[in-house]
Symmetry: C2
């Protein structure tokens, strides 16, 4: 049922994402193709769904949330395209398809990523005008976009991740990488939803802490799936972390303790959004539970 | 004297750019170093100077223009870092120094570029708040940032440029590449200045046309300098266009006709900003003249 909700919203987001790219006038054919190839590759759409679900939990208008939900998926997709490059994680497959640089070329993949990032910020600005979101709030969202997706957030996480390759790192270092690389963008998604629906500061704070817990849980589950997952569902080879000598939760803690950490992490995250008068947390709690059960 | 103006403004911009990066909290040491390496590599600062000169020409407050001027230089620098990569133009030197990926690594260079682009948008949003620029105007600037620097502008130019490698292209194709790759960001700089100073629509239009002329002239001069320039002043090898079989103005037109085209282009550009009551064009006209005389 939660899964149905996620699937339904993901389908709407897919449609909007395609429109967003198709509506850009004067994009070279190859560039548009490359942008759409990765953007419409059937991702789980967790981040945009979190935007929508947060707006809904705050009794806001989800219709007005789509441009922002699309923008965050564009940022996420750009980061995947660049992370997959030979000079980074050097991955050939993503979501069961060739990675962007394998399908096109390295140069095209870099530019498609650049373009998705650039157009994401443009979409936030355009979306704010179209949905009559307060311009001041839109500027805060854009500032936070740089904060969470930039040199102090997601990109910092990728830098630390590259630096930790083939090195044994501590649990707290691993957690810091995930907090930056995965947590920051999840938090940004949830905060976007909170801004759209006009949440107060204390609710915003609770949602932020929920987001970090969710991001960490999401990443632990990713690590676990790399050990016990089904390649055909994941769309990428399992066991690749071990092959690449990556420090992961199962490696550092053992599989059973990693699973326990995951449960605890979800439990603690859920507690962060209980007790705010303006927030009906049910849907967000269900999404948190779903993230443990997911098999892809 | 125009050169003195450009040098003085460039020095102020250098200081502000360093502050912008230093003020970002929590940036990994390597990433900050890589961002600063390219950002503070002694560029000509033509684009940010154009922002300031346009504000000045419209009798606006240049002090308030610095965040936006810095943002555009960050976008320009990111584009250079990515353009220099092995999978794009594969350049080892830029401004007399090793290119970013040669000094650091490809992965770091890609991420430093991503970070500069991301933080540029954040800076526009933050700068608007700090200088009390109207939030609606700031959103327009951000939308235009995506328009001029993204898939419909600068990045489109780079895609067409890569596609034209080792191919004979026509003069109009060459002009289209330059319009996108160089013109759009120059135009964006000038329009930023116009927005900061509150220019009216007709002045904005004149300035935009001036910007496209200037961008084209700038690029023709670049092509000419690659034939007759001084390597020690340019900080990169001359003759590289010919070596790479690139279609350039001197190649397509011959050197003398390229020089004539340059003069005509500057002359026509200058005419575009004459006759607007709110605009004192003197400084902008001088900058246009200087761009022909430059030797680096």
């Amino acid at each position: 049922m939660t899964l149905d909700y996620i699937k339904e919203k993901a389908k709407q987001i897919d449609e909007k994402l395609e429109q967003v790219i198709d509506q850009l006038a004067g994009v070279p054919v190859l560039l548009r193709e490359s942008m759409k190839y990765s953007l419409l590759a059937g991702g789980k759409r967790i981040r945009p769904v979190l935007v929508l679900a947060t707006v809904e939990a705050l009794n806001g208008d989800t219709e007005k949330a789509f441009p922002f939900a699309c923008a965050i998926e564009m940022i996420h997709t750009y980061s995947l395209i660049h992370d997959d490059l030979p000079s980074m994680d050097n991955d050939d497959y993503r979501r069961g398809k060739l990675t962007n640089h394998k399908k096109f070329s390295e140069g095209t993949a870099i530019l498609a990523g650049d373009a998705l990032l650039t157009e994401a910020f443009g979409l936030i600005a355009k979306g704010a005008k179209e949905t009559q979101l307060s311009a001041a709030i839109a500027l805060t969202m854009i500032e936070e976009g740089a904060r969470f997706a930039g040199a102090r957030g997601m990109i910092a996480g990728q830098v630390y991740d590259l630096q930790s390759e083939n090195q044994k790192i501590s649990l707290s270092e691993l957690e810091n990488i995930h907090r930056l690389k995965t947590g920051d963008l999840m938090v940004y998604a949830i905060r976007m939803g909170a801004y759209i629906a006009g949440a107060n500061q204390s609710t915003l704070q609770g949602l932020t802490e929920f987001g970090y817990g969710l991001g960490l849980a999401f990443q632990i589950q990713d690590d676990i799936l790399d050990v016990i997952g089904d390649q055909s569902k994941l769309g990428k080879p399992v066991g690749s972390d071990q092959e690449n000598h990556k420090s992961t939760y199962p490696v550092l803690l053992g599989l059973e303790e990693a699973k326990q950490k995951l449960s605890l992490c979800i439990k603690e995250a859920k507690e962060k959004i209980i007790g705010f008068p303006e927030l009906k947390p049910q849907r967000l709690l269900e999404i948190a539970d779903y993230l443990i059960l997911r098999d892809r």
